[in-house]
Amino acid sequence: MDTTETTDPIVPDYPLPDLLIGQEAKSYLLTAGKWAKFLGILGFIATAIIALLCVFAGAVSPIMGALSSSSAINASAGALSIVPLLLIMILYFFVSYFLYQFGTNIKNGIAVNDMLFVTKAFRNLKSHFKLIGITLIIIVVIYIVAFIVGGLLVGSTFMHH
């Protein structure tokens, strides 16, 4: 089976064990890959800009801390303000990396009609969507928890007064 597949890639007549991607689908994949690559590169640039912002915030916060009276509090607040930026930067990097990998691998895979490249591309596409999905789930959960905690706090203050 494997040897016939490698030597002769012509479509068999019996029920197909594999999914076959024709010319039209290949052209769509190629276009999708081009846009994905473009978006990935833009994402890398955005990551670099966020990294610069992080460095800037990191450089500014100790100065702010030194200038103000309660230096310890301000310094820790400055450090804390970088954490969300860093998280966004890491998220952006990986989202863009998976997109870029999908784009380049799909381009190579279609150019040489190689299944290995295309499989790698699909793995990266999967990781891209999975990362966005998991991030969204986490954000929604945080929102719901904040909502509940906020409601409980408001409720408890009303109970005490």
């Binding site: 597949e5 890639p9 012509i10 479509v11 007549d13 029920p15 197909l16 064990p17 594999d18 999914l19 076959l20 991607i21 024709g22 010319q23 039209e24 689908a25 290949k26 769509y28 994949l29 276009t31 999708a32 846009w35 994905a36 473009f38 978006l39 833009l42 895979g109 279609i110 009609n113 299944m115 295309v118 499989t119 699909f122 793995r123 596409l125 999967k126 891209h128 969507f129 999975k130 966005i132 999905g133 969204l136």
Partner: protein
């Protein structure tokens, strides 16, 4: 040769034969499809929220105009009252919200169609459905790409416009 071509839509196109996606590739595609479907449904919900926000922005602005009597005074520059200006502004803001909602809707729609289609095609080895869903994947990335280009060029225009205004203002001050 012709008969196989008509019965089977996957034409063994010479010089390039069709790409074969094996179990592993199908698994990755299937998982990508599941997440894409989820993201699509999430996007539909978000679209609903944005549309709600668009409606609320309009009513909040009109409420501001009604609650503040000073806004109904005719302004010095012309006959238009502040509340009518606010009303026009709320229209502009609502328009932008609807625009964002439209963008979100199509983004999610393409993702959803890709996800559901690719799940089906990987299960049944259906190349026709796979082709359609890959077209939706293409549309999804193309939409994001074009929107990003438009937004970046708008930013650049604003940047250049601001610099031009600054230059003109400074030259006017020096005269």
């Amino acid at each position: 040769m012709d008969t196989t071509e008509t019965t089977n839509p996957i034409v063994p196109d010479y010089p390039l034969p069709p790409l074969v996606i094996d179990q592993q590739g199908k698994y990755f595609l299937h998982t990508a499809g599941r997440w894409a479907t989820f993201l699509g449904i999430f996007g539909f919900v978000m679209t609903g929220f944005i549309l709600l926000a668009a409606i609320f922005v309009g009513s909040v602005f009109s409420l501001m105009g009604r609650l503040n009597p000073a806004m109904n005074m005719p302004s010095s520059s012309g006959g238009a009252t502040a509340s009518t200006i606010l009303g026009a502004m709320s229209g502009v803001v609502s328009f932008f919200y609807v625009l964002i909602a439209l963008f979100y809707f199509f983004l999610s729609y393409y993702l959803y169609r890709f996800g559901t289609g690719i799940k089906k095609s990987t299960t049944f080895n259906d190349s026709v459905t796979a082709t359609k869903s890959l077209e939706y994947l293409k549309s999804h990335f193309k939409l994001i790409g074009i929107t990003t280009i438009v937004i970046i060029s708008l930013y650049l225009l604003i940047f250049i416009g601001a610099i031009m205004v600054g230059i003109f203002a400074s030259s006017a001050l020096h005269q």
